[in-house]
Structures are given as structure tokens and as C-alpha cells.
Amino acid sequence: MLEPFSMHQPRSAGEASAMLSHFGEDATVYAGGTELLVVMKERLAHFPHLIDIKRIPGLADITYDPERRELIIGSTARHRDLERSPLVRQWLPALAALEASVANVRVRAAGTIGGNLCFAEPHSDPATLLTALDARLTLTSASGTREIAMASFITGLMETNRRHDEILTSLAVPESGPRTGVAYERFKLHERPTAAVAALVTIESGTITDARIVAGSVGARPQRLPDAEAMLRGQSANESSAWLAADLIRMEVETTSDAFESEAYKRQLARTVGYRAIVAAIRQATGADGSRHAA
């Protein structure tokens, strides 16, 4: 059962930040509450002051910036909004597909993308894909804003670079280039994924020219896999290259131990979903999956 708390509803990110500074450790940001309220119900933490950022105008907007060719996603956009947004579907179909399978419809209808990233739960689906997509996050405080790469935002198990008085306001996701395929594959044994890999592959005349491979869920945070990436560059775009890279994924991925699956098995799963993601990305880049890549 929840202990009593006061709720504050600022009208701007700056005001929210000022409230966080004012109350210090007694306050925290409240978005969809799908993680926060569970933590509070379980009495793992208590905050006498919740700063509800959902009323801040514009904070849930999703727009496309044609000049920078970037999708700008407001932090309080809910999973359900991303899943259904025509813009996300058009410019980042892999993200739209991923969002449609996060958690269950109740969580998607309340949980926000910002809450997901700031909580930095290691099994986050979007964190893995957004790392591969080179997304950048905008953090706002009373003293201004700063931008930080997704790849360096999450620093460890449920730890981020965000200062206490900062609000994550939006994220910018660059459109992937031409002849580039993006895919995300995961394997789920419990409520959240057990292993996940996002792959971004660029192909020129049958040869892989660039690859970004990120594993999630198996370790403390999303991890780039440089050995697998390096091995793919220069290889022919086919299934045997994907297997070679997948074998490297198994070797280089870092895993954390828990009571449920062994680390050896998690590495195996990373290899399997890694293979599937790379193959799917190759198919997409070559148009073999029937999709027309948005150029």
C-alpha cells in the first residue's frame, strides 16, 4: 500500500527542475508511474513529493525534423503513442514494432519512453534499439539544457548520467541512412526480455559497409559489440556472415548473473537473437523482406 505523498504539477520543465532542487531527495519525477509506484508500494523507496510532468505542454509531442532528418520524441510520449504514431511507423518502423511488444497493453498505455530510459532497468527494449540508432537525449534543468548520447546515458544497473534536478525532455533519433536495415530481436522467458539484440547494417553492392550491434537485457546496460561489428564490415551480406558475427556476440557480450538463467545460456540466447537481428537487418537493407526503405 502506498504511503501518503504530495503531488505537484509544474507547467514547464524548468519549473519541474526547480521543484526537484527545492525538495531535494524528498522529491522525484512522476511520469506514467508504472515503475515508480511499484517501487513505492513495495516500500523500497518513499518520496513525500512527486513531480508529475505529464501536464507539461508539448512534452509528449512526436515530430519529424526534415532538415536534420530526425524524429523528435517527447519524453512523456507513452509506449502506446509510439506504437501508433504514423511518424514513427514511417520513419522508424523498427521502433514502432518494438513498442507494440513492450510489456502489456496496460503498461504501454501508461508507461512513457522517458520513464523507461530514466529508470534504466537492464531489460529495457527501447534502450537497446535507441543505442544502436545513435539517439541523443535532451536533459533540461532550471539552469539550461544539455544533450547526451543514448550510448553514454545509462551508466550501469539502474544508473544514469541524469542529475537529480534534470528532466529528460526529449530524444532525437536520426533516420538511418540509405541501404541500411534496422532490426531488433528479443527472447522473453519472464515478464521482460531475457536477451535482446539490435542490429543496424548498411550494405553496398552485396557487401556490408557498416554495422552497429547492441545487446540488451543480458548485462547491466545496453552494450555495443565492437568485435561483431568489425567482423561484419567487409563481409558479404548473407547468413554465414551473420553466424560468424553471432558467434562473436556470444564471446564478447557481458552478462550478469541472476537466480533464473545461467550466464552461459544468456550468451547463447544473445547469439541466437543476434543472428536473427542481423539477418533481418540484411534482408531489410537489401529489400529482400519486401519492405521499401524510406530513402
Binding site: H190, E191, A259, F260, S262, A264, Y265, R267, Q268
Partner: protein
């Protein structure tokens, strides 16, 4: 009684899919569950539970909690106002609240009653308890080790009111029950056998996972009148135990059962009623205690098990002998452990013709949450092990699973166990139906695909005592009083159909009440697939009693012998002439009023009805499965599940199918997903749905075939016998045999993807990944101390 009458008349109300009588109330929210009830002045109880699996309680300071405004009462083990502070229907080994010592993490130590739930929550955080940790025995192996701490002074534990399983003589240690039987010359048969298969098996503890956790409200009216509203399956057994605890006459205790949000055994026997009634007495107010899911998970669970089994056969696949030793982990208190052990042992040989059998089964105390009944208990524990061995023998002898069973299964009338009821089913006919549903002879699809079948028997019915009363009111409608609990299985619908059938009434003229021990007549329990068979027979007899009364009155009205009359469409008929029931009653009483009361009783027909002479009927636990295995991840997909409901007579076929499908789904959960994980300190690691996977719609088999067999050979009304448990054990075991057929030999359930992946790798040398134990394997290697 005019039983033959029933048989000749065309049946109209039974044998078809009458809609559930409780459906509208449940889907509209009008139906009341225990959690919906609010009594005037009701206080809210909250329990402070032990964080330690085994510890001495050195001191408890409740002063700060008691001083919190809104707190009405704080009760410790010393304050429990019962004549006997220990309870347990099998063994009186459990204190209502911990006395001096806790034996599992989650054991209630202090109970608080407060004006509202938030105050009660807050109050328990203000209680200080000093514990002194003691050595623990969390696994069966640890509990059986020579230097294991003893959880109880077993030599002096008293038998409970419903022990019912013979004399107990226990040696000091952690064994709370031992059940053994042997026949034939084991050693000689094994020595001479051509084929011997032996294995060690591990079966997980699981939670019954009914949607509704336990909820109980207790109210004292004076010192000697107790009413309890509780989500319980066996109100009369709860009443007896409560009366015993407070040294009251049984009539002084009233147990009322609202709708239940599922039970599956988790609400069998006494659970939260002793604590709640004690707290209500101390508080001087009605008190409600509602478990949360994680509390319910440490209130009861299914027994985990370790077993050794070996089976001998001739080279042409004739089964000869089986030896079984099994250790059932009953947790810190016996709960229903002894009965689970006995039933499991009885089912261990399987329904085959043996020259020699020896079974030993032990109930073992460990420092984990107590284990009790779970749907299909007994059968589910060892059926999968035995069936794996039958198939393995078949593989060595060149016979497939169907041929092995056709060759070895018992026939109708053959003895299942000496002194007990002979086989009352056609198992070979049943297993052929499974084969047909699996397209047994057809080639398998590509990939790692396996098909399996399994068959077992479960001693069902429990002790056959039920009574029922039918009141026909002046308007010709009926109120049925019967205490079998509607746990979701459809009992009220089926009882209504039986009454409608016997009295030629439309179903909507029959009202079926919930159990209330002061109003509805005695029924032993709701479990062991007995409601339709035994309570249903009492209902049928009560209705037949009213019918006989109507006919007797009708005979006077028509001035004809009863044999010249019949009942139809709520009226008594002679040829073309009819008198509606309401006029029959009006003529009888000389007014619009009065009622006819029918009484129906079922009691043992031969012998004492004891367990040894039983069972009331053999429930057939039969299933089939086709599985596909993903070699990369080890994930198993159940493409087909098959059940055979050998029900004698399906009073409501759709409810039978729903029971089969529900049982099969739980079987899939048991075989592939569910497992309670305790760490080395005895703490449950997966007490939430985040980590404890209950099967969902996504785990449904791609196709599910349920075959209903109606041989009218059961002891219940119209030849019915119970269903509901068989598919769980049958389908779970069939998944294990299907996996073996696919080349995945599993000796530990659930067959999680990781275990399946590891089992596949044992055959795959190309794979060079380290094969040292996983977290999961290391945890599971707490094998019994010695198999010798």
C-alpha cells in the same frame, strides 16, 4: 427411491451445455466474493511475517504498534486465545501464530487489527522482533542429512482430526509421514529381467495460483458463537477444526462460503481461518485478513519431490516390476502432506500389470513454506517419471508408446491395488483415442518434433460423505441446499441441472445456494473431483425424494396408483391430464404455502469408506501432446494437446471440456514453466508474476482435442464420475514423454528452455561452450541424501 424410473425417462436437463447459472452474476460484478463483504465495525488484519527460514524468537516489542492511533489489537503467539494453540488437520504441528520459533520465511509472527488497512500496514512496521537465527534445512537433501536440524519433535506430534491414514510411528528427524507397500518378489524379478531402466527425478514446488488469494472474515457473537466467511473449499472441515481449537460444539461455529476465485487445492482444509478468528476474538470486533498474492504463495503450495524409480521388463516389452522411492517436500508444516504422499505413492506404479511392486514415499519437513493439496496431487508427481520409463523400455524393445500401453495396461475389473476398488475404466480404449487425436501413425513434421502420451490413475472422491436438501416451495420452484463449493468448476450449474432433471423443471426454477454450515447440509469437501459424483448423487437423491412425495400426493389427487403417473413440465400427469406442482402443494397443504423437503445422503456403500478400501472411483489421468523444440533457445512449443475425459456421463459437456482445457493449461505450466525457487536461506525468489510464469493465452496449445468418453460406468448420478484433475497430470506427463520422443531426455521439471537446451547439448559434441553447471542446475542438485 425410484432410480430405475430415471433411467428409462428421456433426459432433458442433463447431457447438454446449459449456460452457467453464475455467469451473469460473475461477469457483472454482482457475485460476492469474500473480499467484497464488509461487516459493520469490521477491522482490518495484517500479519507480520518472519524474514528468516529458521530462527528463535528472542523478543517481540509491540508497544509502538499498539500505541498507533487506529490500532485495535496486536496479537503475538502468546496472546492467541485458543484452547489449543496448535492446528493441522493431518498433524497438529502448526501454531496459529509462531510460538518461540519460526520455521519458514513468511511464517506469521504478529497479527495486527486496525481501523483501516493503511493503519494496519503502518503498524506492522512499528513492531520490533529480535530473532536468533538457527541452522536451516531448505532442501530435501539438507533435511535428511545426518546433522540436519530437526524442525519438529515428530515423535510427540499429535494426529489431527482428519489424519485418517493409519497409525504413525516416527523416528526423530524430519520425516512426518511414511507410506510404503510391496507385493511380489522384487529382487528376483529384477534379477531375471531382460531390461531395467532406472532414473532419478526432480519435481518442482509450484503455487496453485488461483486468481483470488485467501480472504477470511471472522466474527464472534459472544464467547461461544463464531461465524467465519472464508474463501475455503471444505467449510465443514474448517468448522470442525475451529470448533476443536476453541473447544466449542461444532454447531457453535458457522462457516459461510461466498463465490471463490479459484482454489485448485490452495483453499482446501484450514488456511487463514485460525489466525483470523483468534485476532477477531482479541480485537472484540469482526476482523478481515486478506492475503496478498505473495503472502498466498507462502501460505500453501504444491510439494516438490525427489524420486528414484526403476522398472523391469522382458525383452518383448512386457512390464514386470517397478520400484519407487520418493521424498515429498512438505515444507515447515505437514498441512495435507501425508495425504499427498499416500496418494502419490499409490499412483506411482501406474495402471499396469505388475509381478512385483515396491513403493516407499516420505513426507519431509524443510524450512520452506508449507505444501498441501494441488489439483491432481499424487498423480502429477510420479506419472511423468513412470511413463518416461515405459517409453524408454519400448524404445529398447522396438515397441512404440501405443504398443507398450496396449500390451501392458490393466483391463476393466482388474485389481489396481490389493483391497481397493478394481479398475472401473477402459484405459486401452482411452489411450487409442489419444493416439487418434495425435494422428499417431502420420509422419511427423520437419524439425525437432516429438509426440507423447501418458496414462495414470488417481484415487478420487475422498471420503464419500455428502448430504443435500431440496426444498420445493409453494410455487413449485426449488431451492437446493448443498455445501459443495462453487470454485469455478461449475458445481452450481451441474447441481441445478440434476435437480431440473429429477423434477422435470426448467433450470431457472432451481436456485442453488452457496455453502453455509448452519444452513446447507454436511458435505465432506470440495476436491478430489468429487462434487458431481458424490455431492451430485446426494442432490439427485434429495430431488428424487421430493419427486416421490409429489407422486404420492398426486396419487391421492388422481386417485390412482403412483405407477400410473409421471412428471413432466413441472406437473404431474396421467395420460392427457395434468396438475401443476403448485396445485399439488396447494392441495396437500390446503393453502398457498408450505413446502416439500427432500433429503439426500451418500455414505460408504461397502466397508468404512476408508482410504485403503477406496477409492470411490479411479480418475483416469490421460493425455497426449505434440511438441516442437527450438534447438537454438530450447523453447518448447506445444502444438497439440489431447485429453480424454473418461467421465461416465457428461452432465454438462461444455463444463467438462472447460475443466479439461483448464487442467491441460495447468499441465503445460507445470511441465514447461512453473517452479518456486527458494534460495539457500529459504527465501522465495520468485513471488511475483514478473518471474513466476503462469501460462497465458500465448502458451495455449495450437490445437486442443478433448475427447469425452461416456460409458456410464461411474458411481455418480447417471453413471457420472469426476473430471478436472486427470488432464493436468496426463498432459504434463505427455509433454515429458513427447520431449523424450524428440530426443530431449528430461529428468527435472519444468522443462525450461535452458534445461531443454542443455539436454540437447548433451548429444551435441560440436558445441564447445562451457558445460559447467548453470545457476539453475547448481540450485537443483540438492538430491536426496542417498538413494540406497
Amino acid at each position: 427411491m425410484t432410480a430405475t424410473d430415471t433411467e428409462v425417462r428421456a433426459r432433458t436437463a442433463i447431457g447438454h451445455d446449459a449456460p452457467r447459472v453464475d455467469a451473469v452474476a460473475k461477469v457483472t460484478g454482482a457475485g460476492q466474493f469474500a473480499g467484497d463483504l464488509k461487516l459493520h465495525g469490521m477491522a482490518y488484519g495484517r500479519l507480520l511475517r518472519s524474514p528468516y527460514a529458521h530462527a528463535r524468537i528472542v523478543g517481540i516489542d509491540t508497544n509502538r504498534a499498539a500505541a498507533l492511533p487506529g490500532v485495535i489489537a496486536v496479537m503475538t503467539g502468546d496472546d492467541v486465545p485458543a484452547a489449543d494453540p496448535y492446528y493441522g488437520h493431518a498433524l497438529k504441528d502448526r501454531p496459529i501464530l509462531a510460538i518461540d520459533r519460526v520455521r519458514f520465511a513468511g511464517e506469521p509472527v504478529v497479527a495486527v487489527a486496525a481501523e483501516d488497512p493503511a493503519i494496519a500496514d503502518e503498524a506492522v512496521t512499528l513492531i520490533d522482533i529480535i530473532y536468533e537465527e538457527m541452522p536451516t534445512a531448505v532442501t530435501i537433501a539438507a533435511a535428511l542429512a545426518d546433522d540436519a536440524p530437526h524442525l519438529h519433535d515428530v515423535v510427540n506430534v499429535r494426529a489431527g482430526l482428519f489424519h485418517g491414514l493409519g497409525e504413525i510411528h516416527l523416528e526423530p528427524g524430519n520425516v512426518c509421514y511414511h507410506h510404503a507397500f510391496a507385493r511380489g518378489d522384487m529382487d528376483a524379478v529384477f534379477a531375471a529381467a531382460d531390461v531395467v531402466i532406472a532414473g532419478e527425478y526432480t519435481f518442482p514446488a509450484v503455487y496453485q495460483y488461483s486468481l483470488e488469494p485467501h480472504t477470511t472474515i471472522a466474527q464472534w457473537t459472544g464467547a461461544d458463537d463464531l461465524t467465519v466467511w472464508s474463501s475455503c473449499q471444505h467449510p465443514f472441515l474448517v468448522r470442525a477444526e475451529l470448533a476443536d481449537l476453541y473447544a466449542l460444539p461444532v454447531g457453535a461455529v458457522r462457516v459461510v462460503v461466498p463465490y471463490l476465485g479459484g482454489g485448485f487445492g490452495s483453499k482446501s482444509y484450514t488456511k487463514m481461518e485460525p489466525i483470523t478468528s483468534a485476532l477477531a476474538r482479541v480485537a472484540g470486533r469482526p476482523v478481515r485478513i486478506a492475503n496478498s498474492i505473495d503472502e498466498a504463495m507462502v501460505t500453501t503450495r504444491r510439494h516438490g519431490m525427489k524420486a528414484f524409480m526403476r522398472t523391469a521388463a522382458t525383452r518383448d516389452g512386457r512390464l514386470l516390476a517397478r520400484e519407487v522411492r520418493a521424498w515429498f517436500d512438505t515444507g515447515a508444516y505437514a498441512d495435507n502432506g501425508p495425504r499427498v504422499v499416500a496418494t502419490g505413492a499409490d499412483a506411482a506404479p501406474g495402471p499396469y500389470r505388475w509381478e512385483a511392486v515396491r513403493v516407499d514415499a516420505w513426507g519431509v519437513y524443510t524450512n520452506t513454506s508449507p505444501a498441501g493439496s494441488y489439483r491432481a496431487f499424487g498423480a502429477s508427481h510420479l506419472q511423468w517419471c513412470g511413463e518416461l520409463q515405459v517409453d524408454e523400455i519400448g524404445r529398447r524393445c522396438g515397441l512404440d508408446a501405443l504398443q507398450m500401453r496396449e500390451r501392458n495396461l490393466l483391463s476393466r475389473g482388474e485389481s489396481v491395488r490389493p483391497g481397493g476398488k478394481p479398475l472401473d475404466a477402459d484405459l486401452i480404449g482411452d489411450i487409442r483415442k489419444v493416439a487418434a487425436s495425435l494422428n499417431w501413425e502420420s509422419p511427423k513434421p520437419a524439425g525437432i518434433v516429438g509426440r507423447g502420451m501418458s496414462v495414470g490413475l488417481l484415487a478420487a472422491g475422498a471420503h464419500p460423505v455428502s448430504t443435500a436438501a431440496v426444498r420445493m416451495e409453494a410455487d413449485g420452484g426449488v431451492v437446493l441446499l448443498v455445501s459443495s463449493t462453487e470454485v469455478g468448476q461449475g458445481a452450481r450449474t451441474v447441481f441445478g441441472q440434476i435437480v431440473a432433471e429429477e423434477l422435470a423443471l426448467p433450470l431457472d426454477r432451481v436456485r442453488v445456494l452457496g455453502g453455509d454450515t448452519r444452513v446447507t447440509p454436511y458435505d465432506r469437501s470440495t476436491g478430489a473431483s468429487r462434487s458431481t459424483t458424490i455431492a451430485g448423487l446426494a442432490v439427485q437423491r434429495a430431488a428424487a425424494d421430493v419427486r416421490a412425495q409429489i407422486l404420492a400426493i398426486g396419487a391421492r389427487l388422481f386417485d390412482l396408483p403412483e405407477t400410473a403417473l409421471e412428471i413432466r413440465a413441472a406437473s404431474v400427469w396421467h395420460e392427457g391430464e395434468s396438475v401443476p406442482y403448485r396445485d399439488v402443494l396447494k392441495a396437500h397443504f390446503g393453502m398457498v404455502g408450505g413446502e416439500l423437503i427432500g433429503h439426500g445422503e451418500v455414505r460408504p456403500e461397502k466397508g468404512s469408506g476408508s482410504y485403503a478400501e477406496g477409492p470411490v472411483f479411479w480418475e483416469v489421468c490421460i493425455g497426449g501432446a505434440e511438441v516442437v523444440v527450438d534447438p537454438e533457445t530450447g523453447r518448447v512449443t506445444v502444438t497439440k494437446a489431447v485429453s480424454v475425459a473418461d467421465v461416465g456421463k457428461a452432465i454438462n459437456p461444455r463444463l467438462v471440456e472447460a475443466q479439461e482445457m483448464g487442467g491441460a493449461m495447468q499441465g503445460i505450466g507445470n511441465a514447461l514453466h512453473e517452479e518456486m525457487l527458494f534460495d539457500e536461506t529459504g527465501t522465495l525468489l520468485n513471488a511475483t508474476l514478473y518471474e513466476y510464469h503462469v501460462p497465458t493465452i500465448a502458451d495455449m496449445p495450437h490445437t486442443f482435442a478433448s475427447n469425452i468418453v461416456e460409458n456410464e460406468d461411474g458411481p455418480g448420478p447417471y453413471g457420472a464420475k469426476g473430471v478436472g484433475e486427470g488432464a493436468l497430470a496426463g498432459v504434463a506427463a505427455a509433454i515429458a514423454t513427447a520431449l523424450a520422443d524428440a530426443g530431449v531426455i528430461i529428468d527435472e521439471l519444468p522443462a525450461t528452455p535452458e534445461r531443454v537446451w542443455r539436454a540437447l547439448r548433451m548429444h551435441d559434441d560440436r558445441n564447445d561452450e562451457d558445460s559447467t553447471g548453470s545457476a539453475a542446475n547448481e540450485r537443483a542438485t540438492g538430491g536426496a541424501a542417498s538413494w540406497g
